[in-house]
Symmetry: C3
């Protein structure tokens, strides 16, 4: 086996195309420099047109054709779209959304993970295809299902779930009494005497018991995870050991209550559907948001690499479109993913569907099937930049910083969001407050071109990092705090966010003063706080005026020293510290009592990063540098220009939406 090479792929639906096109499609993909084709993820009804009657010939034929052009196949397990005969025979496979809407056949991911009928039929088709394609040398890997949890499919409130929920509780708690105690059901007299009495928490005028709600989210996550684990186990039993297994996780910074890192556990690597703009968005996400997403995906498996299973090829939407990027920008988005660790990348889709629910999901080719400018421009990048892509894929990103993501804290904030600044519902099924706030905490690393990881507490090897950001860490794990303490003591720089340490691991308020377990580390106490909601409070960092957002802790320093103050004459706490620094052993702890606005973040992090010897470099908004360590032992940097203007970086001009590789 030779050196690692970057692999481009295409998401392809042979079932949508006339058979006569398969051969030319394969040829044109090959000419584009593509080596992989992903397919079959919605093809259950093709594979099993009637119950018990299976027919894999279509994909056999397509795989052969593509193999003839040197293109290997990646197969999706087709469980995202049940066949109509299953839905007809077992109406109970249909899920019910959190808002009470009963999902319908034909709209994708309409099945409940806890339906025994769905699970049984799903695992059965997975087993059949695993047996059939598992030894096929032209099949190199598998994608489980499709974007699990997307579009509100992380939570279901159907009767199947109710039974499984009670079973889950019975397994978790040694007794009903233990459950009552863990949740604090004595509050509002909602004490249970049997597990069966516990409701599935639906949307109500008042919040449910916070412990019950958190456990229901954990249960829902476990339901989805076990669905995936079952599929993986069956695949592993039958497939060749060379064939890998992964999944296209839906955009992590706006995700859901599923523990994606846990879901990825038994996969070979994590994957991602990368759409920097989608649907009716008037602007793409800021570039640092996408960088954050790549770090998050890397974090799922604590791995430097991941696969982009779906990469933006052209403007897409279900019912509405928005921003149209230039071809240069589309190409940059590909290179952006590669610079951050993608080692495989599939464009979605090959050819725009003429019908169905994604007529506005524009592909590399239009439905006229002519060679499009997109095709030419993407091909050009694939072929001309092959050496660059390979150089990158043989290197690894250098990340002296890490941002901590904690799923349980995210789940708690889903409902009990504290501040309207942490409440953002782009759809009825997503509460992205925690995720979007994390982007704020990640952005300074991107702006100053210090690459950062995103990890969960149980997974992070602190010794790898010089600096750790830990925002919104209310439920604090004593074991993790212990490791943090030791790490700070030995010289680490901790950037701790407001509300840290406010809860124990059952989400009970602590019986200490805030910030609880972090009190000594931070060298301060907090007795009061104000939710700023969507307002701002004036602060001063040194002499520079900035703004605080979302929240304002009223900090009482013990050993800490203030480095920023509230300076808002409308606030009774004006003049008190907003940000502090505390020295602890050889290390340093910064405590941010508020979420600085962009200017505040800039000033503050330049100070923090400089003092920590991390050499922040700002090349202007939109210029990003990814530092990588090559397989030749030499470091180099990938410079990306996310703007429509040429930029000067390290003495060299980089063209609009361009990529440049420089040695360090």
């Amino acid at each position: 086996m030779g050196e690692k090479e970057f692999q481009f792929g295409i998401d392809y639906h042979p079932e949508h195309a006339d058979r006569s096109l398969w051969e030319s499609d394969a040829r044109r993909m090959k000419e584009m420099g593509v080596r992989l084709v992903r397919m079959m993820e919605f093809a259950w009804i093709i594979l099993e047109p009637q119950e018990g009657c299976q027919d894999f010939s279509l994909f056999d034929e397509v795989i052969d054709i593509f193999a003839g052009h040197g293109i290997k196949a990646v197969l999706g397990t087709p469980t995202a779209t049940p066949p109509v005969w299953l839905a007809e025979k077992h109406p109970d496979i249909i899920r019910i959304s959190i808002d009470g809407k009963v999902r319908q056949f034909g709209t994708r991911r309409e099945c409940c993970y806890n339906s025994a009928h769905y699970r049984e039929a799903g695992l059965s088709i997975v087993e059949s295809i695993a047996r059939h394609f598992g030894k096929n040398q032209n099949v190199v890997g598998w994608q489980i299902d499709n974007e699990l949890g997307h579009e509100g499919t992380d939570i279901c409130i159907c009767d199947n779930c109710k039974d499984k929920w009670h079973a889950w509780l019975r397994k978790k708690f040694p007794s009903v009494q233990a459950m009552n105690k863990t949740w604090g059901t004595v509050f509002w007299g909602a004490t249970y005497s049997s597990f069966e009495q516990v409701p599935i928490p639906t949307e109500q005028p008042l919040p449910h018991n916070a412990g019950l709600q958190l456990d229901y989210y954990r249960f829902c996550s476990d339901s989805a995870v076990s669905f995936v684990d079952d599929q993986i186990a069956i695949l592993r039993k039958h497939i060749d050991s060379e064939q890998w297994i992964s999944h296209n996780f839906y955009i992590p910074p706006v995700c859901n209550i599923i523990d994606h890192a846990r879901m990825a556990e038994n996969m070979d690597f994590a994957g991602y559907s990368n759409y920097p703009v989608w649907g009716d968005q008037d602007e793409p996400f800021p570039y640092y948001f996408n960088s954050y997403a790549f770090s998050a995906i890397r974090g799922f498996k604590d791995s430097p690499n991941f696969t982009i299973f779906e990469q933006f090829a052209e403007a897409q939407g279900h019912v509405c479109l928005g921003y149209l990027p230039s071809y240069d920008e589309i190409v940059l988005w590909t290179n952006h993913a590669i610079a951050h660790g993608a080692d495989r990348l599939f464009y979605f889709p090959w050819r725009t569907s003429r019908y169905g629910s994604e007529q506005l999901g524009y592909g590399i080719l239009d439905s006229d099937n002519a060679e499009s400018e997109r095709y030419r421009r993407l091909r050009q990048n694939i072929i001309k930049n092959r050496d660059v892509h390979d150089k990158i894929v043989r290197s690894s990103i250098i990340t002296p910083a890490c941002l901590i993501y904690d799923k349980d804290n995210m789940r708690v904030l889903w409902d009990q969001y504290l501040s309207k600044g942490l409440y953002e519902k782009p759809t009825p099924y997503v509460q992205a407050g925690y995720e979007l706030e994390l982007t704020r905490w990640f952005a300074p690393y991107v702006l100053f071109n210090i690459n950062a990881d995103v990890k969960k507490p149980s997974q992070v090897d602190l010794s790898r990092y010089s600096i750790i950001s830990l925002p919104m860490y209310q439920m604090a794990d004593p074991e993790f705090v212990g490791r943090i303490e030791k790490w700070v003591h030995e010289g680490g720089i901790l950037v701790l966010g407001w509300r840290a340490g406010a809860r124990d691991m059952n989400n009970f308020a602590i019986t200490d003063s805030l910030p609880g377990l972090f009190s000594e580390l931070a060298g301060l106490k907090i007795k009061r706080f104000e939710s700023l909601n969507r307002n701002k409070v004036k602060i001063k960092i040194g002499l520079i005026p900035a703004k605080g957002e979302v929240w304002a802790d009223l900090i009482e320093p013990v050993s800490a020293k203030a480095i920023a103050f509230y300076s808002d004459s409308k606030k009774h706490y004006s003049g008190t510290p907003a940000v502090t620094v505390n020295h602890y052993g050889k290390g340093t702890v910064y405590y941010l009592g508020t979420s600085p606005d962009p200017l505040g973040l800039f000033i503050l992090f330049r100070k923090i990063l400089k003092k920590g010897g991390l050499r922040p470099k700002f090349h202007g908004n939109g210029v990003e540098v990814i530092h990588r360590s090559g397989d030749d032992g030499k470091n180099f940097k990938v410079v990306l220009n996310h703007t429509a203007k040429s930029k000067l970086v390290s003495g060299k001009w980089i063209r609009p939406y361009g990529m440049m590789v420089l040695s360090e």
Copy 2:
């Protein structure tokens, strides 16, 4: 029979009034100049107080009394409000709204067109009243039901509908396979093996298959239409041939998925409920919106005339009020309808209801029953302007222009609206994006005082027109495009909107480049486009800066020449054509790649209309001229002042909200 005379009428509810008032009501109406009275549209329970027990004496008596004052009756079939005994005996008559809300007895139009019990009982009462009143010489016509489809009653998702939906599919498609192919159900593996499996599409987190959704809308429309057709058939069997049949269509520019033109097919003429302001509106609709509505109504039957079944008499609303017009403005609204082709007009209502759901539906008389200033002012207009009204009613409007309205294209855009600029939901049951955008395309004709028709493709006689506007014509009928081609070739001016020709008649994306069938006509190709949603893009028309809205096609001219360009430095397509002109045979095709803002429309249409020799005349915003051809062979014009200021037109002053008739 003498010359045609304009007929004023009143909407009257004798069942609300004390019997002692009937006589004086009739007398006061007569004194006002009124010749018609409409009634009975909500009176089922009066006519049939118990099942099988009918009593028509109340209306017999009222008809006699009015006849005594020379006032003829128009009767509504009373199917909009079922009697309580029917709702009690057959709960399944109740419809379920698209959002899952089960309608309730007592709130009007709560019955499902597909309920057999409702249909049977409804046709039975219609037959009875047809037999009873059909030969009555004092009854001149019939209104079917009331504002069908209004308030979300175009769509129902109940079980009655499910059965009829499957039957409809069975009738439409020769086989399930044909249905699958027509819809492209291979997408997301939603392929059916029997018609019974097809769901009624309800609101879901993801869109349903676009073909299925479109057919469901067609089915719903057919359900309502067949309900009307059945009533008409029964009426025709029993009524005198002199008695006409019509319907008060609800405001067409904000309407619903019912094909109103088809619904009107078996009627003698179309009717309309004309409320230039209603409910909580802070301003009346712009005058060109109402002009558009009149043209739309004329278009339903391809007729120069229509009836206003309900005309604004005073501010009205169900729960909230808004703008209060002056008496002059109220009078103008009457004359506006007449100038555009109304030959009958009923004011709604006679006297404000003291109770029920329309206590805020103010009438000509207040509940104090005193002679109101409204009564006096409306009477004055009726009596003093009798000659003018008669002159107008004996003439016909001169319309060199036509705007094409296409119901299927409207239905497709209901869900797949492309741009938030085409998404406008004033209530949960109306998506008025297509309709409101059409108003934009109609407005220039009004501003430049070139009267225009609104027609559907299958109905339009192109030879009548010099200029045709064809916006949002995605699903393009080859037969119609063929006729257009020929018409342009012979000298027609076509104003073609973005997105034209993008789909075939099954709503599949075409396999050609855009604009598909229009490519040669327009002389250009389109490969990319941006949805502008609610933003604007700068354009230049010649040297004049304006804005594009909703959408931006990136036009690649072949034979066309640009007459406007994108000029927005933020857009990568700045400098490319936004509007083009192409000569085709003796004709001209303008292609608008974006929706110009008001200034842009003004500049552009002045240019287009002038070049086309159509003599646009702009007298200032709010001054409208309706050109008519009199029965004496002489043309004249009706000038209306929709403003609160006097205006100078053709050298004559027209007073605020005034009407002036001038010879051409």
Copy 3:
């Protein structure tokens, strides 16, 4: 028995605390100056852990412990939170919200007042505790349930309600015919032939019959009231006559369709949960809003005193927080309540709950149980100001003014709100338009420091007042109007709002001209009106320009004289009267055809109050003077500074958020 003393109390949940804390909690409360403790309101499951098995030992013990520290108990009947065994055995106890959402166990007040199973079990536990604690000398009073009607629990649409609704109708109306007539069901042909046919009105695209809707609200109110009356009757049977009964009514200015005054009828006094800021509010309510609330609570029982059962102790919310007051402001809020008539005040809660649904409901103590600054500051106020509080509690407020609140008029406006200016839905279950508009009408009295009562028509003793404000009094009771007439004739000043007298007591439009019964009093006629919704209209009061909001009556003076005019050139009624004055006997009637903006109110009321000899005094926004009559026969005034700045009042400086008592 000595002189009356002000009593401070604490809301306490011993069931949330470790037993070991009870003794120290009691001690610390005593040290704070507290004499009362409220508890047990959510403790049904503690008292009756299984059906029929009751155990009162916990509260016996706690009562004893507190008694040992001189603290008496107030007990809540625990019916707000049913025990799980009841919900499990009788699922039909669960209520269904107006929007169709089925409530769930565990979320408080989830039971329907009309569930026989709930009523029976609830009255049974109330009887048991009444027997058990009713003679306990350490129990001084009872709170019925908790904040009845809050969070959408005023309305239920379940099947239990349906049966009771029909029974209620049968009782109210001598016949179905009488009901039909009272509601005007002839409208839209919705005439009933049996009571059982009448639906429970749910949310529909169109409004229900206004009479039916009003009666349903009355029925819902009666259901809640009878639930309370039943509890009171049982308590009275068993408890000592010294023990009082009351209820913590939820914030009256944003309340619901329950008739709180009627609900309070059989109680000893009314109570209130006083949260000047709660949840995600970015600002506290304006101070005059809270003053209005105190007056409203006094009005429930026509009494100078009331109890604050829950008083803001620290920022609270269920899922989100907001504004954080300074300690000075928190103390002021306590003194504000006392100055307006509170004679008992309980802080809520003692210690922040660590778990459950109110983790963000911060208490006097934090969950760290340390002595908090809040504890110290509240104690300081209790102890240092004891004489002041006692002086106030031995005096009574002097109120020359009264604002009329009418529940039926509020209910009618809930749905038929006339103007979007009267439509304010902070949650799906509250329509606070009427209530918030009343605040506007109350504010001038606060600004000019003339204390005012809030009373309902049937209850108000007009002879006590010099001036009466009567806004939004559409449904006019002839008996009350008669009394008003006589009172004005003898010198009263009536400030009458637009829309007065528009309806009779069945909510039928009157058959006279507006303002109907008030025509002679006001000396004018109204034929037309405009709903301004959320827009403003320019007016001039004398020479001073101001704005009118919400509504604009077009006034035709008969004997009245205009004192303000519409002056908006965009309105056809510009130049006509907006506010008039009419002399009637020795009295004066001001008619406000619009709702003046703050400046307009200021100008207008200064004029009205001065002319009426009421000596308005304005000390600047935020300075409030409460005039009281002491038990020594001397009047004094309590001055409160609601601002963060020192203010000069009557030559004395009052510190920020300070209280000052001055003799008159």
